[in-house]
Structures are given as C-alpha cells and as structure tokens.
C-alpha cells in the first residue's frame, strides 16, 4: 500500500497523543487534584495538540475535508466512523477531566472517574484506529491479530516516553514513569518482532490463478492500460525486501536507543527522557511507514503479482 505521509503522521502523532493523555488520566486517578495543575495543563495541552494535528492532517488529506463531519454517521458498521466518533468524544472528556483537576470545575470527587474515563476513551480511540486496518480482509499484513496490540503498544510507548519528558520540567519526574516507559518500549519491540516474523512467514496462498479463476498456470500478459492507474498507484506500492529489512533494523535501533536513554534516566540525568521520547516517536514513524509499505493488497494479483 502507498505510505501516504498524512496517514503516517495521523496515526503516529495522535497515537502518541492518546497515549500521553491516557497516562495523564492515570496520574490524575492516582494523585487527584493535589498534583501540579500547570503540569496537568501542559501535558494535556501537548497531548491534545498531538491528537489534533494528527486528526487535522488526515482530514485535510481527504478529497472533501469540508464534508468530514459526515464521517461520524456510520459508527454502526464502519471502524473509521467509530474512530472519528471516539476521537471527538475524547475532547469533552479530556476537558472535563482537566477542568476538575485545575479546579476550574469544582468537583474533586469527579476527578477519579474522569481519569478512568479518559483512559478508556483514549484506549477505545486507538483500538478503533487499529481496527480500520485490522478489519480489511484484502490485506494479510493488516488482517492480523497483532495489529491492535501494535497500535496500543506504540501509543503507550510514545505516550509513556513523552510523560517523563514533560514531567521533568515540573519536578514531577518519577522512577515509576521511567519503568513504565521502559516496559512499554520493550513490549513494542517484542510485539513488533513477533509481528514481522509472522507476516514474513504467512504463506502467500492467494494466487493470480485463484483471483482470476483461470486455473493453475496463469500470468499477467497485458495491463488494461499502458499508463498507471489509481489502483496501481494506491495499492501497487512495493518496497524492496532488503530495503524493508534495513528499515526494520532502524526501528529496532531507535527503540533500543529510546530504551537505553529511558533506563539511564534512572541512574544518570532524567533529562535523557527527552531524547528517549524523540527516538520512540522516530521509531513509530518508521514503523508506520513500513506498516503501509509492506502491506500487500490482493488486487495486485490482477496486476502482475503472482501471489500474496
């Protein structure tokens, strides 16, 4: 599939945003209003900024952004619609949560439930995003049980590395945050490793013969048109195997650096949380590019690919 930068930006940025917001929900749940308000406000602001920029980039990428609101209507059947609804729902929840925290809304009793609610809505949104891909039968690499975990793990990992990076400025850095981030990064790496292993080994059982129903010995002779069409541009994207492997290594490298930096925050200076966050996000971006580039759509069977 064609790795469109808007989608990559959307999924990574908003992923990180939801991760961060969810963790803020956790902090609020644990410490209630006693905790620093400026810290809460800044973190919330950063999270929502990330979420919003992601949503905007994907919206502007539409053929008709002005009609984007329509996408909220089909939550019954469409994961994209559900994602939209969840994404929108996040804002009031988050704002209420922050309002109570910052005392703007004087209802200290609500902060715990609102914290939980924030965690839930963020998780739901990320799951919806993942399900958009997970639900497509046309793409093996997406129609895969690990896709949702991957998205959740990345949201958590990027969020968890961002949290301490913000916390240090308000002397709110805690070893617990570092541990959480480290665990998240490690699990991302683990899940991704298993995922890649698995998609490398799934048998390419769909063949041109199967797609065309013309028997065993079938190969493409002539394309319908000598110029490339939408299908080829959108679904026909291929990344060279060795190129892909290098990028995978990079992702692991970035994760490793992020992990190292995060762990070091516990022994050396917590300010290492900043490079940690940056590398985690960098890993997410590369991973997301590969997520699209390595996805093989069955329609390519009609356009010369022997098997997917």
């Amino acid at each position: 599939m064609n790795p469109a930068y808007s989608v990559i930006l959307f999924t990574t940025a908003s992923g990180a945003g939801y991760g961060l917001l969810a963790l803020l929900g956790l902090v609020g749940f644990n410490h209630g209003t006693t905790s620093s308000q400026t810290f809460a406000l800044t973190t919330a602001f950063i999270a929502l900024a990330l979420i919003t920029s992601g949503l905007l980039s994907s919206t502007l990428h539409l053929g008709h952004p002005e009609r984007a609101w329509r996408a909220l209507s089909q939550w019954r059947s469409s994961w994209l619609s559900r994602e939209g609804v969840a994404a929108i729902a996040t804002y009031p929840v988050a704002l209420f949560f922050i309002a109570t925290w910052s005392g703007l809304l004087d209802a200290p009793a609500l902060i715990k439930p609102l914290g939980i609610l924030t965690i839930i809505i963020c998780t739901v949104t990320v799951i919806c995003t993942a399900m958009i891909y997970r639900s497509l039968r046309t793409i093996r690499q997406w129609n895969h049980k690990l896709v949702v975990p991957v998205y959740l793990a990345f949201a958590l990992a990027t969020g968890a590395t961002l949290l301490p990076a913000v916390a240090i400025w308000f002397e709110r850095w805690q070893i617990f945050q570092a541990i959480l981030a480290a665990v998240a990064i490690a699990s991302v790496a683990a899940i991704k490793f298993v995922y890649w292993r698995s998609i490398d080994n799934i048998p390419r059982t769909h063949t041109t013969g199967e797609a065309t129903g013309l028997g065993k010995d079938v190969r493409m002779w002539e394309l319908p048109h000598t110029n490339t069409n939408f299908i080829q541009k959108e679904m026909g994207f291929v990344v060279a195997r060795k190129h892909a492997l290098q990028l995978r290594k990079l992702v692991f490298l970035f994760l490793a650096v992020a992990l190292l930096a995060t762990v070091s925050t516990m022994f050396a200076t917590p300010y290492l949380a900043i490079p940690a966050a940056l590398f985690a996000i960098l890993a997410a971006v590369f991973e997301r590019w590969l997520f699209f580039a390595e996805a093989e759509h069955v329609v390519t069977l009609y356009y010369g690919k022997a098997a997917v």
Binding site: S77, L80, N229, F230, M235, H297
Partner: protein, 264 residues
C-alpha cells in the same frame, strides 16, 4: 447507509463470457463515454496529453496468459473487470459516511458523490480493484451498473441495458437478474458453469464469469485421412470416371433452357 441490506429484491448484475471476449475494449470506452455524461459525470482524465495521463475508468480489460491443463501452448484470455456488486460488500460497510451503499431494490452498489469525503477506504476494502478515486473530483467512482440507463424511460426499451452490454460486439456481456433462477443470465450461468471471481475472499459477487471452453485442437468428429497408398492420381481418375455414370443428383429440369442466351 452503510449497513448492508439483509435481502435485496433483485440481484442485478453482469455475466461475462471469457470464451467469447476478444478484448476489443468496446465495453471499456463505452462505459467511459456514458459515465462521462451520466450520473457519474464528470469522469475526469488528468494530464490527458502528457507522458502520464491519469484517467478514471469504471471498466478495464486485462489480458492473461493461461496454459490449459494438457495443452502445449498457452493462450490469451481477455478479462473485463468492473464492480461485481457483491452481496457481502465490505466496500460498503467500511464507508464512514454512508456515501457507499448497496441498493435494497436491486443490489446495485453505488457511491453518493454528494456525501463521499474521498477517504479511499472503500477502495482498500475491495479485493477486485473495482473502485477508482477521481483525483480531480475528490470522490470515489465505480461501476453503477448503468443505473441511469437500465430504468431510464428516456431511452428506447431495448437500450435500457448497461452501455457496455449494448456495445459489446461479440455478445460476451449479458445483463440480468441473477437473483431469479429462471432468468436468462441465471440459465447461462447454469449451462456454462459460471463462477464467482475470487470467491475465496468471501464477498459473494453478483456478477459471474463464464469460463473459457476447452480448446478443440485434438478432438475431432472426422475420420483421419491417412497418407494414401498407390498413385493418388490414378485413384482420382478412377473416381472421376465413376462420377460420370451417376445421375443428375438433386436438380431436375423444369424451366426453359436459358443456355442459348448465354452462348458466345
């Protein structure tokens, strides 16, 4: 409304005969032509005179090289491909806006150009590559089964068929209700073993394809004609002599002899 109808009154669709299709492209250009001015209009062509023209088409003819089991040579099979109006059409259910929908009354799968936001998700969900994004219009386009022809009373009755079906010079394209077991198309599918394209995907296409017939390059009704022994020329003379003794055959004299008129 992207939830699929549980049941459609009719299942209108195409039956395409791969044994007869010569790949002439008439269905492709007729489709392009009708839909450039019908409800799908405009069907744009970006940079049409350039090195990379980029047009939106709703029907494309692929060519495959196929080797029939037990046959020495492979052959070309031309395969026109357009939307199959699937019963289990994920292209509909994934649509966030309801722009993509399957009609209750006839099962036709359509895109509403008024509400489509151009997110392209439906094209990802289609295993057949039947949806084409119109970059200029920013909406998704697809075969409408010529819904603006088949019911259109501004057209003469026999013309109320899809443009591609009317155009097809070899008669390889058939249109009808595949939900009705007695319809001509259903009969054709029965007789010729029509099949679902890529049924493994589980989309339950309505359109059917009639497979290429087995070649007939060995079977023969005729008795072989071995090399004759002895002088063929002598046999021929003998045969010719015998002829002269046989009678006039089917013809009989019943009219004045015109031959005089023709002398000289």
């Amino acid at each position: 409304m992207t939830t699929l109808p549980t049941h459609t009154t009719k299942k209108l669709g195409l039956v395409i005969d791969l044994d007869t299709c010569v790949g002439c492209q008439a269905c492709a250009t007729s489709c392009k032509e009708w839909n450039s001015q019908g409800i799908s209009a405009p069907l744009t062509d970006a940079k049409p005179r350039s090195a990379e023209p980029m047009g939106t088409w709703l029907n494309r003819i692929h060519g495959y090289e196929v080797k029939e089991e037990g046959s020495a040579h492979s052959r070309i099979v031309h395969m026109p491909r357009s939307c199959l109006h699937c019963e289990d059409a994920a292209c509909v259910t994934v649509c966030p806006t309801g722009a993509s929908y399957k009609r209750q009354e006839d099962g036709i799968v359509l895109v509403n150009p008024e509400t489509c936001i151009g997110c392209k998700l439906c094209s990802w969900a289609c295993p057949y590559g039947a949806r084409e994004y119109d970059y200029t219009e920013g909406v998704m386009k697809k075969c409408t089964l010529c819904v603006d022809r088949i019911y259109n009373e501004n057209l003469d009755e026999p013309d109320r068929v899809p443009a591609c079906v009317k155009a097809c010079p070899t008669g390889a394209r058939h249109f009808g209700d595949l939900g009705d077991g007695n319809s001509a198309v259903s009969q054709l599918v029965k007789d010729r073993g029509g099949y679902d394209l890529f049924s493994e995907m589980g989309y339950k296409p309505t359109n059917k394809y009639l497979p290429p017939r087995k070649r007939r390059d060995t079977v023969t009704t005729a008795e072989a004609m071995p090399k004759s022994t002895g002088s063929a020329m002598d046999k021929l003379f003998a045969w010719a002599d015998k002829l002269l003794t046989v009678s006039e055959g089917p013809s009989t004299m019943s009219q004045p002899d015109n031959s005089a008129k023709l002398e000289g």
